[in-house]
């Protein structure tokens, strides 16, 4: 299966990516981010020039394997502590602006 993240990586549209993240960008912000994205991808482009034919491909940088945990429950956060972080809480739940019409 192909890695989707590497598709069309030569160019990344800042407004499109911001749209996926539900971010509104001013024209100035969009221009600034687009410049930064272009610089990052240009650098990736430079890395692509390197000869890595003798290097085995990997998807992890560490030797670690299997961050296992046995299936034994532990107490997490008390609800009032968890909800204390919420910008808005109602009915013991996290409340957000309505997300469907």
């Amino acid at each position: 299966m192909a890695m989707k993240f590497s598709e069309n990586a030569d160019r990344m549209d800042a407004r499109y990516v911001a749209g996926l993240a539900r971010m509104a960008l001013s024209d100035a912000e969009a221009a600034q981010l687009q410049g930064q994205l272009d610089d990052i991808l240009a650098f990736i482009g430079e890395l692509k020039q390197l000869d890595v034919s003798g290097v085995e491909a990997t998807d992890v940088a560490t030797e670690a394997r299997n961050a296992w945990r046995e299936d034994v429950p532990e107490a997490g956060l008390a609800r009032d502590v968890a909800l204390a972080n919420a910008p808005l809480a109602r009915h013991e739940q996290f409340a957000v602006p309505k997300v469907i019409e």
């Binding site: 299966m1 890695m3 989707k4 993240f5 996926l20 993240a21 539900r22 998807d59 992890v60 560490t62 670690a64 394997r65 299997n66 961050a67 296992w68 945990r69 046995e70 299936d71 034994v72 429950p73 532990e74 997490g76 956060l77 609800r79 968890a82 909800l83 972080n85 808005l88 109602r90 009915h91 013991e92 739940q93 996290f94 409340a95 957000v96 602006p97 309505k98 997300v99 469907i100």
Partner: protein
């Protein structure tokens, strides 16, 4: 449906039966009180690191083993990015590049036709939180966030709504059998995305695919597919064009509707999950997990037919629930009369359990007791109505059938002297019916047998009663 051929594929999400969540030690399956099973990991707080639930991995691998998948000895997690408050990290940890189980298949049968449905892969992932939309806000309960899910993706091998339901039924049966999931649809343990397309008959290339998201009842899936396939065919017949899109099923209106792109972003920007190292399994572990697998329903059905000489129908009913199948086998081991055991389990036992809303685990009647009861009937010590009475007592409070027969005085009267007396009384009280029998109306005898049973308070051996009556009427 002859000018177009449907192709249906399913993406089945199943909540695994584990004690804890997929990537943290919070209790899983916490229903009711909201936000009581949460921690920094499943709330997506900055800096929190996921850890893998080994039991969830084991269960998903076992599903792969059951359907003949190739088990990946090395698999990896990826981030599926999307922005919706039910996913507090703004991504779901899933598997995209290297899932846990590759390939496999499930056998189905529809209208006597067997068919193999290929599975593309099964991957491990986490569930989203529960979101409730109110008038002016949406409220979120993160108890469900990060509940272990397996997602099984089929090839588009099903060609009718019936086949899709047969697939889901077969899969569900397997998962319940092996203790992978309770598959309680009301609790949302099983949710499906349903892909469908139609193509002109006689062509090979699949048509334009439409996906119906987030279906959670089998009945709904059947109705949605019936509607959707018809809609696609009607569109093409009218010369229209279909566009690849995501739709949702409106159960009340009975239609599928296109989803707004806002509700569902297609671009998930998958990339490798940097916080989780790869999952590596060794072949010995996988083989040990394979050894834990129970006998699967289809194999059990075949064995019941072969070893106990049961009709296919009986084997199907008895094996539908592994606990019932186990009870049948425990009873059959103590009995000579397998068909009678089957009849009692399918009939009286399932009826009595249903009436009380109990499961076989609650039943007070021991398999030995049921076997002994059947032996008493076969030895003609008690007749069927008496046996049913004894059964009810055994079911309600347990005990030994022979002792109950004695205590209640239910033993059949096989004393011919006593039966002769009842027969004479029955004839004397029903001269008209007796005359009808003598005149050649064979059915009249059954009425008289009934009278003898009544006079004996149900204890007469009906065969002996019939013999006695016949003797007296014809003699």
């Amino acid at each position: 449906m002859s000018d177009y051929v449907p192709s249906i594929g399913l993406e089945v999400h199943v909540q695994l039966k584990t004690r804890t969540k997929m990537f943290c030690a919070c209790p899983a399956h916490e229903e009711g009180t909201p936000n009581v099973a949460v921690c920094p990991v499943c709330l997506g707080l900055p800096g929190a690191l996921p850890t893998m639930n080994r039991e969830a991995i084991r269960k998903t691998v076992k599903v792969g083993l059951m359907i003949g998948s190739e088990i990946s000895l090395r698999s990896t997690f990826d981030r599926k990015n999307y922005f919706y408050p039910d996913m507090p990290k703004n991504f779901q940890i899933s598997q995209q590049a290297a899932p846990l189980c590759i390939g496999g298949s499930v056998e189905i049968e529809v209208g006597g036709q067997k068919k193999t449905i290929r599975v593309n892969h099964i991957h491990q992932e986490e569930d989203a939180a529960k979101i409730t939309h109110l008038e002016n806000s949406s409220e979120i309960d993160y108890n469900r966030a990060s509940t272990p899910l397996m997602e099984l993706v089929t090839e588009p091998d099903m060609s009718s709504p019936d086949e899709a339901i047969a697939f889901l039924t077969a899969l569900k049966e397997m998962l319940v059998y092996a203790g992978i999931s309770d598959c309680n649809l009301e609790l949302g343990h099983v949710r499906c995305d349903v892909n469908s397309s139609v193509r002109p008959a006689g062509t090979d290339k699949l048509g334009v695919k439409c996906e119906i998201k987030n279906m959670n009842t089998f009945k709904g899936i059947h109705r949605a597919l019936e509607y959707e396939l018809e809609r696609q065919m009607e569109t093409l017949r009218a010369g229209g064009k279909l566009t690849q899109e995501t739709r949702r099923w409106d159960d009340v209106a009975g239609v599928t509707l296109p989803m707004r792109s806002k509700e569902y972003a297609h671009d998930y920007r998958y990339f490798p999950e940097p916080d989780l190292p790869p999952v590596t399994l060794d072949a010995a572990t996988v083989e040990a997990w394979r050894a834990e697998l129970p006998e699967l329903p289809a194999a059990k059905r075949a064995r019941f037919i072969r070893d106990y000489g049961l009709p296919e129908y009986d084997a199907g009913v008895l094996t539908a629930d592994p606990a019932i199948a186990g009870y049948f086998e425990a009873t059959a081991q103590k009995s000579q009369n397998f068909k009678a055991v089957s009849n009692w389990v399918m009939g009286e036992l399932l009826r009595a359990l249903g009436e009380k809303g109990e499961t076989i685990a609650d039943a007070k009647i021991a398999p030995e007791a049921l076997a002994a009861l059947i032996a008493l009937v076969d030895a003609k010590t008690i007749n069927m109505p008496a046996a049913k009475e004894v059964f009810q007592i055994l079911f309600d409070r347990g005990g030994e059938p022979a002792a109950i027969v004695k205590e209640k005085g239910l033993a059949q009267v096989s004393d011919t002297g006593a039966i002769d007396g009842f027969a004479e009384q029955a004839i004397a009280a029903n001269e008209k019916v007796a005359a009808e029998f003598r005149g050649g109306k064979e059915a009249a005898l059954m009425f008289l047998v009934g009278q003898v049973m009544k006079l004996s308070r149900g204890k007469a051996n009906p065969q002996l009663a019939a013999d006695a009556l016949r003797r007296k009427l014809q003699g």
